[in-house]
């Protein structure tokens, strides 16, 4: 659609100045908004059910949605809001949570997946009107807003990302919501404490909570809003007509809406999460024994095990640090050059048969499983031997360096069929108990002290490299500090000779659960390291649209969807970034040199510096941190930043053309140039969308490398794989 011609109106600068483009007729705005919204929804919902099989990460997030419907506990590195909403959408649309979502490519058959996809597409469609309104608010220019909207509507990447069961549309919805309400709130600044001011301020807070609740990447938008608020407050502080009491009120209002409210909502989200997921599931092992006892179906729920530890018992030991693992061993040896070449001992987060150990006396190897032999309890201060059940090796330590924590000693499995040496002896101690007391399962916090060297068994929390199967390092620390790293508790306990007693494990408080789940998530996130030699996506690839992501289909006969931005749009965004930089430098220097500007130009430079600056800051905040992240990165991480860069494109081109028009008076030529360039840009976007739309709406037939394919000429970069 062509940009509207606007009525020229005289600015307040007085007579003699050329007419400046001002706000369009009131009727044009709702119409434009309606058009943009309609187009957005149409593009996102077009061919939404295709392909009728699991695409890419739907296998994770669809599965997690099902977990909510089935109320099964699971573990994921992201906070729960996004998956809860997906689950809710599925539940409301009649999906029963029975589809397994095993791997990409599985057909949905009779399962109702449209509710979940439709929900994501709905949120994804809202991005366009949000961006439109934000740019309109910042630049007060309809063409700028329309340009931004067209860019987002016709970007194949945004369409693709909105059409599947993913967290990204949800995240971006809250993110854009937060930006929009922040901008709206800023324009209400002249009417502080009015109803609309309160509304937008609290809406910002709500959206921040939402963004944080979907992915931790939401933190960046929190930073953006935070910086904006600080700037705002600094401004108010410098306003001497404002009394300190008033300033205090401003401060308090912001603390309330932007800190207290989001935190409360965020916590509430987790409360719902834990209330809904009350059945045992695949995520149990990541959490402490106390937490697990609350899950229905977990072996610790209403547990009934022998209470006191005895010799001959088969046990599992869990490290007490947050997200600590079970003491684990397996047949594999430490590789050459790393300590002694003996069997590995690690900490492992999943429940596994290799976590089982047998408690034995250090000096005798009598078969304690003989049902006739008397039961002998383990007491505080006893010297014991721990034999690994599967491999019959003893827990062993010696004065070799541990593999990662060089200041600690290595822990290994040693000996054959339980016969080892004196380095296999450990003294068992309960925290805060006296010698001779019995040791309780689950409740006693114990430490194991190596008799020969005096070091304490602990888990360092560092992930071993490939040879250790990326499990967690276990060491023997010579520093006798009291940390959860070196404390353990017994979780499973099997001893047929002892009576089972029902135990009520200490229930953890909600705050403890919240803290624990965050520690587990952070651990999980930092554990997502790229494997050796794996070719991963680099942040510098993203803005140049270097490489996409394959959503579905590999072969010629498959229905193929490829996540790739519309290259014309992305490269336009990139060029605009440079243009914006130039304009900013020129304007800033001109202003600093005190060049006399007309009223219109001054206002325009205000838009460029303030509005554009805010958007650029958003882009930087959502892009630069990825350069410093050690975890595995994917192309779709760039999309929040891409929203910002699209908004910047709208603002920049509008201002650039207006600047040019300002020099090109008389106004008719100027307006012609302005309209012409705008029309050209929009047509360019439309045409490129026409070319590249099969990327999102699916391609069947020969690959693009085949000249007979309709996409043959469009593989502009060798790295694109469609």
């Amino acid at each position: 659609m062509p940009p509207r011609q606007r009525e020229p109106r005289r600015g307040p600068g007085g007579p003699g100045r050329p007419g400046r483009p001002t706000a369009p007729p009131v009727a044009a705005r709702p119409a434009a908004l309606a058009l943009v919204t309609l187009l957005s929804f149409a593009s996102r919902f077009h061919r939404l059910p295709e392909p009728p099989h699991v695409c890419w990460d739907e296998t994770h997030f669809g599965k997690m949605g099902s977990y909510y419907i089935n109320r099964t506990f699971f573990f994921d590195v992201h906070p729960p809001l996004g998956k809860m909403l997906i689950g809710l959408a599925g539940y409301l649309s009649g999906y029963d949570g029975t589809f397994p979502f095993q791997k990409p490519g599985d057909r949905y058959e009779q399962h109702n997946y449209m509710g979940m996809r439709g929900f994501c597409a709905f949120l994804g469609s809202c991005l366009v009107p949000f961006a439109y309104l934000t740019v309109l608010e910042l630049s007060k220019s309809l063409p700028a807003a329309l340009l931004t909207a067209f860019i987002l509507i016709f970007d194949t990447g945004c369409i693709t990302l909105s059409q599947y069961i993913l967290l990204d549309p949800i995240l971006m919805f809250f993110l854009m919501g937060a930006v929009l309400s922040m901008v709206k709130c800023n324009s209400c600044a002249d009417r502080p404490f009015s109803a609309s001011w309160w509304f937008w301020l609290s809406l910002t807070g709500v959206n921040l909570a939402g963004a944080m609740g979907v992915k931790f990447v939401g933190l960046f938008v929190v930073l953006l809003v935070g910086l904006n608020t600080i700037y705002d407050l600094w401004d108010l502080l410098g306003n001497l007509s404002l009394s300190l009491v008033m300033f205090g009120k401003h401060l308090l209002a912001r603390v309330l809406c932007l800190i207290v409210l989001p935190l409360a909502l965020y916590t509430a989200m987790f409360a719902v999460h834990f209330a809904v997921l009350n059945k045992s599931g695949p995520g149990d092992g990541f959490f402490s024994s106390a937490f697990q006892s609350q899950l229905i179906g977990n072996n610790l729920h209403n547990v009934s095990i022998p209470e006191h530890l005895a010799y001959g018992s088969v046990i599992t030991m869990k490290n007490l640090r947050m997200a600590g693992g079970y003491l684990h061993s397996h047949w594999h040896l430490y590789p050459e050059g790393i300590g002694a070449r003996q069997q590995q001992v690690t900490a492992y987060l999943h429940k596994d048969l290799n976590n089982l150990w047998i408690i034995k006396k250090h000096d005798s190897d009598t078969d304690l499983s003989d049902p006739l032999s008397p039961v002998e309890f383990v007491r505080h201060g006893d010297i014991i031997r721990l034999e690994h059940k599967e491999t019959s090796r003893n827990l062993h330590s010696h004065q070799h360096e541990a593999p990662l924590t060089r200041k600690h000693f290595q822990v290994t499995g040693y000996g054959i069929n339980g016969t080892g040496d004196s380095n296999d002896f450990w003294r068992i101690e309960v925290v805060g108990r006296k010698t001779g007391k019995l040791i309780k399962v689950l409740r006693s916090q114990i430490r194991l002290i190596h008799v020969a060297t005096g070091c304490i068994l602990g888990s360092s929390g560092k992930t071993l490299p490939k040879w250790g199967w990326e499990q967690v390092e276990v060491t023997c620390t010579p520093y006798l500090k009291e940390t959860p790293n070196s404390l353990w508790n017994f979780e499973d306990h099997i001893n047929p000779k002892l009576p089972n007693i029902s135990l009520d494990v200490l229930k953890p408080s909600f705050a403890e659960i919240l803290l624990e789940s965050h520690m587990v998530m952070i651990r999980g996130n930092s554990g997502l390291k790229p494997k050796d030699n794996e070719v991963t996506s680099k942040p510098w690839h993203w803005p140049i649209n270097y490489q996409g992501l394959r959503f579905s289909g590999v072969n010629e006969t498959d229905y193929r969807v490829y996540l790739l931005g519309n290259p014309v749009i992305w490269w336009l965004n990139l060029v605009t970034m440079g243009l914006y930089f130039l304009i900013t430098v020129c304007t800033a220097v001109a202003l600093k040199r005190g060049v006399q500007l007309t009223y219109e130009l001054k206002e325009l430079s205000g838009v460029v510096l303030r509005g554009g600056g805010q958007i650029t800051l958003g882009w930087l905040l959502h892009y630069l941190p990825f350069f410093m992240m050690g975890r595995v990165l994917y192309f779709h991480h760039y999309f929040p930043a891409m929203l910002f860069s699209s908004m910047l494109t709208g603002i920049t081109w509008d201002s650039l053309l207006k600047f040019c028009a300002g020099f090109l008076s008389p106004s008719t030529t100027a307006r012609k140039v302005y309209g012409g360039v705008f029309l050209a840009l929009v047509l360019l976007i439309l045409y490129s969308f026409y070319l590249f739309h099969p990327l999102s709406y699916g391609m069947i037939g020969p690959m693009a490398s085949d000249p007979s394919s309709p996409m043959a000429g469009l593989r502009w970069m060798d790295s694109w794989e469609f």
Binding site: L237, G238, T405, V535, V554, R593, G594, S719
Partner: protein, 701 residues
């Protein structure tokens, strides 16, 4: 007349007395007992090696930083007449007589000592007067020269001294960056400060546009161009000095290796440049990770079934082998012809040509097919084809794609061309997967056909290393020919820029094994000095040297930083409400001093939190130097502006004296572990262990 002459003399003499005294004190503390111990101390084991290599002109790569620092150290060795013959194998090894310990250690000690007067000058330039400092040198010189320049410029723009200090800033910048990349952060800080000053100049309406432009250009020249040129020149000298092949050759590409004397150059000298049909070649993988290796095959076949039950083609194994071997030789064959020798004249292979690769010793063809590779099941197995008379036809045509070609008709060149082999039937690309095969493959590296090739990863690129034109038609003769060393003569000289780019890239990307060191620490430990580094321990007595800060200095530096931050915030907020507690010019001073010292501390410290390398306490010293500079700033400010009454002022002076003496007391207490003598007894050492986390070595009796 006389008075006029006298005055400046008196002034300069006064400064010099202070300066000289400080310099002498600095020199004494740094140079005292420099030759003791006559044994390898801590990282000397590491840097000493490089000095030796410089003396012997052997090429090396060190990822810890650019070569300027190494070269300075080597200069010390050169002047001292060191011949490079010393085995730097362990800490504590006694030096032999040919090692000029004194001259080797002199340079770092001098640099360290000069820090003291430099720090003094910085504060003078910042218009403060007290002084106390220790630490690292060039960074300070850098800041100093810029400040000098900035202060001068107010009076005499473009004068001789103005240019001198501006240029010195640029030179110091490049030196700082040239020693360690940490210097980059200080350089950034300096650029930011310079940018800020220039920004204020833009606002100055009295300056004309032309003079602004001149200022801009002069700064660009001094602060951007000179450092870049200097930096390049370091590498130029480095490469010019080191022209012999050495232990780090394998890291570099074949082309680079061929440019060094000895090593690969000895083999490749005079090879034919253009690969032709019938050429006998060895193919090296360009990636060089996990180790350098060559495409290899041997008579053993893939096992019929792998451990996990999957089947294989049972054809001849193709691997990547990290050693030179006769089985690394391949012959380029034209699919349309039978002959395996080079015709006369040779027909060169060009980009896009289709070839077959014949394994020299076994005469089997390089082949790939739709069978899962042994360790990377998503890729295709690569084998040397054996016809088992089952439905598995030979698929041995490969298209040669020269990746770094200039035109589409480029000839495949020895060493220089990086080539992708694309399988014609399946469009798979020959790739090194990086995994090493189990016992049946002799732990050699796996080679696969990658079907979904993502871009141009280096693991898919190969270059011809050894090359000769095949002459023998018969298999027996050919075997003899393959075993004989290649002989011929042409040298391939790389341009300096090509060498520089490669070396620079290698330095930046080379990652040492991420191992934790016994004395490594985390950045957080440094502020509170919860860690130390044992540099050296006497073989028999308890004498030892530790890197251990002066506790009082560290604590007061932290306190100064804290006070500075709080006070600044307080002033800022008050000023915002138009309440001015201190006069405008002292506020300006306060801000600029904080910008340099506080900013220097921040940029030299915070980046370590983002680094994933092994960190040591000595990484903190540059940051600490800046932090220490904050102490006098804060002290003087407190004395001038907060101590209003006479009583307060005198109390304040008394406190300062007490502080100085406590610093001195701690220095004296710890001097045995700083200088390594006298030897302390066990109890004395135990007493020195003020913090539990300090690792002071105590011998078990």
């Amino acid at each position: 007349m006389l008075g006029f002459l006298k005055e400046p003399v008196v002034v300069t003499a006064e400064i010099n007395v202070n300066l000289v005294a400080l310099t002498v004190m600095g020199l004494i503390t740094r140079l005292w007992g420099l030759c003791y111990p006559r044994a390898v101390v801590f990282d000397e084991v590491y840097y000493g090696q490089f000095v030796s290599l410089y003396m012997k002109r052997i090429f090396f790569v060190d990822d810890s930083g650019p070569p300027f620092g190494h070269m300075l150290l080597a200069l010390g060795g050169y002047l001292g007449g060191f011949d490079g013959n010393f085995l730097w194998n362990r800490i504590g090894a006694e030096y032999t007589m040919n090692v000029p310990v004194w001259s080797l250690r002199l340079l770092p000690a001098l640099a360290g000592a000069l820090c003291v007067p430099l720090a003094y000058q910085i504060l003078v330039e910042l218009h403060f007067s007290h002084c106390a400092a220790l630490g690292a040198a060039l960074l300070i010189l850098l800041v100093l020269s810029y400040l000098k320049f900035y202060n001068l410029q107010r009076h005499r723009s473009f004068s001789g001294r103005w240019w001198f200090w501006l240029m010195l800033t640029g030179v110091a910048c490049s030196c700082a960056v040239g020693v360690k990349y940490m210097g980059l952060f200080t350089y950034m800080l300096l650029l930011a400060i310079a940018g800020l000053h220039f920004w204020h100049m833009i606002g100055d309406q009295t300056l004309s546009n032309v003079s602004l432009l001149c200022h801009f250009l002069a700064r660009g020249l001094a602060l951007l161009l000179i450092p870049v040129v200097m930096y390049l020149s370091f590498f130029y000298v480095h490469l010019a000095l080191l022209y012999c092949s050495g232990p780090h050759d394998q890291i570099m590409t074949s082309a680079f290796q061929a440019s060094l004397e000895g090593g690969l150059a000895r083999i490749t000298q005079g090879q034919p440049l253009e690969v032709a049909y019938g050429s006998q070649i060895t193919l090296r993988n360009v990636l060089g990770k996990p180790m350098q290796c060559w495409l290899h095959s041997h008579t053993n076949t893939y096992p019929i079934r792998y451990e996990n039950g999957r089947g294989s083609s049972h054809q001849q194994q193709v691997t990547c082998y990290p050693f030179k071997d006769v089985n690394n030789w391949w012959i380029v064959k034209d699919p349309g012809m039978q002959q395996l020798v080079v015709s006369n004249p040779p027909r060169p292979v060009r980009h896009g040509h289709i070839v077959q690769l014949v394994h020299g010793i076994t005469t089997r063809y390089l082949n790939t097919h739709d069978v899962a590779a042994p360790l990377s099941p998503h890729s295709q197995e690569v084998s040397c084809y054996i016809d088992y008379n089952i439905s598995m036809p030979a698929q041995n045509l490969w298209r040669v794609e020269i990746v770094n070609r200039e035109s589409d008709t480029d000839v495949w060149k020895t060493i220089l061309s990086e080539v992708r082999f694309v399988h014609v039937n399946t469009s798979a690309v020959l790739k090194l997967s990086g995994a090493s095969l189990p016992e049946w493959g002799y732990r050699q590296l796996e080679v696969v056909g990658e079907k979904l090739s993502k871009g141009y990863h280096q693991s898919m690129l190969w270059n011809v290393e050894e090359h000769r034109y095949g002459k023998s038609q018969e298999q027996k003769e050919r075997e003899v020919e393959l075993h004989s060393p290649t002989q011929m003569d042409i040298s391939k000289n790389l341009s300096f820029m090509a060498k520089f780019t490669e070396l620079q890239w290698k330095i930046l990307t080379l990652k040492n094994e991420d191992t934790e060191h016994k004395y490594s620490s985390s950045a957080l430990d440094w502020i509170t000095m919860d860690t130390n580094i044992a540099y050296w321990l006497h073989p028999t007595s308890g004498a030892q040297i530790h890197l251990l800060g002066n506790v009082v200095t560290w604590a007061s530096a932290n306190a100064a930083a804290l006070v500075y931050t709080c006070l600044s915030l307080w002033y800022l907020i008050r000023r915002r409400r138009r309440i001015y507690d201190i006069p405008e010019d002292s506020w300006q001073l306060w801000v600029s001093a904080g910008g340099v010292c506080g900013g220097g501390w921040v940029v030299n410290y915070l980046p370590f939190f983002l680094m994933e390398k092994t960190l040591f306490l000595y990484h903190y010293l540059p940051a600490l130097t800046f932090q220490i500079l904050l102490i006098p700033v804060v002290l003087q400010h407190l004395g001038d502006h907060l101590c209003r009454s006479v009583l307060l002022k005198s109390m304040f002076s008394a406190l300062i004296v007490a502080w100085f003496s406590s610093v001195y007391f701690v220095y004296c207490t710890f001097s045995p572990v700083t200088y390594g003598q006298p030897a302390l007894s066990m109890t004395e050492l135990k007493d020195l262990r003020w913090k539990d986390s300090w690792n002071i070595l105590i011998r078990k009796q």
